[in-house]
């Protein structure tokens, strides 16, 4: 639409700027904080003039925090790895389980189909607090207490419904004739699913996978209750800087920045697929 007026463009520009400021200013502020000591962060009034320090990051990365109160051991990098491992594996498994199911709900009208789909969604709102405690008993009997496998299993409660419902919508938007054409051309159901349905739903899968990854990454109650300290994610790890002798805002800010980094990288990577999906106008004839 080329006939957008200048006035409209100005208004759009102003609106986008407002949006970016609102959503990104806190992030910008956190980034600034991550280069400050507590002393400069806690100035009255706040100011953006400060002498930057890398001490927060070096403390997180080397795992030692030198402070007047003594040395603190920080397991932050381990937490970061746990977060990454738990989120990535959970999303991967959720994709493996969720995409075929999403496809089934999108393509087939089958008895109990909607009921099964709804049941799967309803897991999303099962109260985690209450489920987790009895669950720890069952886990003990199954030998899953304090194992990554157990955690990844529980993480399916976050990832699976999300992937299922978002990807389902995308599958439904793909004309079934495209798949029919491929099958009639002489390809099996499985090959059609793999070569046609999945690639065409890629933007949806990328979006759902990314969101599931983010939600898994942000969770902390599961690991907190079901696993010991060495399997805690970064969300629990970052709280370690809330200490009796004060909140280490600089380190929390640095922890947030470090914990955002992998997700951001993933999002930028997934962006490729999200964009690729945009040109699929033909699919949705």
């Amino acid at each position: 639409m080329d006939h957008t007026s200048t006035l409209e463009q100005v208004i759009r520009g102003v609106l986008i700027t407002c949006v970016l400021v609102f959503f990104l200013f806190p992030i910008f502020w956190i980034v600034l904080m991550s280069f400050q000591t507590n002393e400069t962060i806690l100035r009255i009034p706040p100011s953006i003039v400060f002498e930057p320090t890398l001490s927060n990051y070096s403390a997180l990365i080397t795992g030692r925090l030198e402070s007047a109160a003594g040395n603190l051991d920080i397991a932050f990098m381990k937490n970061l790895w746990n977060s990454f491992f738990l989120s990535a594996s959970s999303v991967l498994i959720a994709l493996v389980l969720g995409i075929p199911a999403a496809y089934a709900f999108a393509r087939f009208r089958f008895r109990l189909g909607e009921d099964i789909a709804f049941t799967l969604l309803s897991f999303r709102f099962a109260p985690p607090l209450l489920v987790l405690l009895p669950l720890s008993l069952y886990f003990k009997q199954l030998g899953l207490t304090n194992t990554y496998i157990g955690l990844i299993w529980v993480y399916q409660l976050i990832c699976l419904p999300l992937i299922l419902w978002i990807v389902r919508g995308y599958f439904e938007d793909i004309s079934p004739d495209i798949e029919h054409a491929y099958r009639i051309s002489g390809n099996s159901w499985l090959k059609t699913f793999w070569k046609i349905a999945v690639p065409l739903a890629k933007p949806g899968i990328a979006a759902a996978g990314l969101l599931a990854f983010i939600f898994a990454w942000n969770n902390f109650v599961f690991a907190l209750i079901l696993a010991s300290a060495d399997k805690q994610p970064v969300t629990v790890g970052a709280l370690a800087f809330v200490t009796a002798s004060g909140i280490q805002y600089g380190q929390i800010a640095a922890a947030i920045v470090l914990s955002i980094a992998p997700t951001l990288a993933l999002a930028l990577y997934a962006q490729r697929y999200l964009v690729e999906g945009l040109s699929l106008g033909a699919v949705k004839g």
């Binding site: 507590n38 907190l224 060495d230 002798s245 004060g246």
Partner: protein, 479 residues
């Protein structure tokens, strides 16, 4: 090592010599202070080894659940000593304070045998004990076969020993003869004033002596300083708002949370005196408390003092202690004062928070775990932590007498020893032990919030609170 010197240090460790005497005697023997320190550590191990088989559980693996706290840091720093002495292996899970008690509840309510011993507060044992999650430690302390002869349980401050012992009867007096020892005090905090000396000088005020003065001084500070506010206290919707300064002041007027008669509890927070106290307290917050008071927890109260946003706090003494160090802007500017809210009171009556060690009932190796607990709460470790680490406040009388510790504190934290020594005799838990502790204190905090926000008049609010509390006590079969 010369036998004479060894004898000298062993005598000190056994408590036969005071620190001063030891120093004098070592000087005579020509031992330098530094070498003296080394000898002392060796003596610790040797003394504890005497007449007790520390190696009885050699090879056993213990696992602890710890809160991220300077006390835990001090223990971890000294843990090798224990491992060497006992041949046991000790691992630990450290969780951030924000989520620590959730983790404890999760682990214990599921009957997890993963952890043998864990850190706890005394209030929490009012839940853990009746729930059957923790062991009565009297069975260990009083058993010479299990506890080493130099453990010296009676050295632990009596108020703290009593505060961590309860007979499990709702309303039952803490430390009564039939009480069970649910946990061992490890480090504790009492509530007094910590204040910014420079700000006080600037405004020309002295640390207030009672609540009237506190309200007036805080108001004057707020007005005169032009920026920082007068007094920081906690205000979040939590039991933690009630237990520090608030309850300390409240108790000083002789007020109780409940009255107990015939084993039944009734709310006691709506007496005339209580209402008067609440009014003053609410007025103080409204006039000179933090603007965001109702979100204030330990952290905000401390941060404000350390960063110079508040002129004083009525909260844990060690919070003021922490804010005098680290990378706080006001480090070195913090002073300490004992505080008795009631002008008629003879001494402060601070309520206390006691970080303690408890023994999990689900542990498969309780005897071995007790070995760890008695070491971690021993004079020797307490001394080590108090001298070298931020293991304050120590819970043992003998440590408070230690000159090195006193010297260190007096030098860097002027007035700290005085506030502690003045208040320690009256320091104990002033709450009535009962299972609805967390429910009812949270409601109390909620009521306070409504009063400060002027949504509810004080008198009416307290009457309502009392009625509500009575109903819940009845529902639970306690009232």
């Amino acid at each position: 090592m010369y036998e004479k010197e060894k004898g000298l240090f062993d005598a000190f460790v056994a408590g036969k010599l005071s620190r001063r005497e030891l120093l004098a005697a070592s000087a005579k023997l020509g031992i330098s202070a530094a070498a003296g320190g080394m000898l002392l550590t060796q003596a610790q191990t040797r003394a504890m080894a005497a007449e007790f088989d520390w190696m009885a559980y050699k090879g056993t693996k213990l696992k602890l659940l710890l809160n991220k706290h300077p006390y835990a840091d001090a223990m971890i720093a000294n843990l090798q000593t224990f491992k060497d002495m006992t041949g046991m292996d000790v691992t630990y899970d450290v969780f951030p304070e924000d989520v620590y008690f959730d983790k404890v509840t999760a682990a214990l309510s599921s009957g997890s045998s993963e952890y043998d011993a864990f850190m706890t507060g005394a209030y929490m044992t009012w839940t853990y004990g009746p729930a059957g999650w923790i062991a009565d430690l009297n069975e260990y302390i009083k058993d010479p076969a299990k506890t080493n002869p130099t453990y010296n349980w009676d050295d632990v401050l009596p108020g703290l020993r009593a505060s961590t012992a309860w007979n499990g009867v709702p309303g039952g007096e803490l430390g009564s003869a039939d009480a069970k020892q649910w946990c061992i005090p490890w480090g504790y905090e009492l509530n007094n004033l910590s204040y910014n000396v420079k700000m006080f000088e600037k405004a020309g005020v002295q640390p207030p002596k009672n609540l009237d003065e506190l309200v007036a001084t805080a108001a004057k500070l707020t007005k005169d300083l032009g920026g920082p506010y007068g007094v920081g206290v906690r205000g979040s919707r939590s039991w933690a708002t009630i237990h520090p300064g608030f309850l300390s002041g409240y108790s000083n007027f002789g007020q109780k949370d409940f009255s107990v008669a015939d084993g039944k509890l009734t709310a006691a927070m709506n007496t005339a005196e209580s209402k008067a106290f609440h009014k003053q307290w609410v007025q103080m917050i409204q006039e000179s408390g933090p603007k965001n008071w109702s979100t204030y927890t330990w952290y905000q109260v401390g941060t404000d003092l350390g960063a110079g946003a508040s002129a004083m706090i009525f909260d844990a003494d060690i919070l003021g202690y922490f804010m005098n160090g680290g990378d706080n802007k006001e480090k070195g500017n913090i002073g300490y004062a004992p505080f008795a809210a009631n002008p008629k009171a003879t001494a402060p009556t601070p309520n206390v928070w006691i970080w303690s060690l408890a023994l999990s009932n689900f542990s498969g190796q309780k005897d071995a775990a007790w070995y760890f607990m008695q070491w971690a709460s021993s004079v020797e470790h307490d001394l080590f932590g108090a001298r070298k680490m931020d293991f304050v406040n120590p819970v043992r009388a003998s440590v408070w007498k230690d000159e090195e510790f006193r010297g260190r504190i007096d030098k860097s934290y002027p007035g700290y020893l005085n506030q502690h020594d003045t208040s320690a005799p009256g320091a104990k838990i002033y709450f009535t032990a009962q299972p609805l502790f967390f429910d009812l204190t949270t409601q109390w905090a909620e009521t306070l919030q409504k009063m400060v926000a002027k949504e509810l008049p004080v008198d009416e609010g307290l009457d309502k609170l009392a009625a509500n509390v009575d109903k819940q006590l009845k529902d639970a079969g306690l009232g």
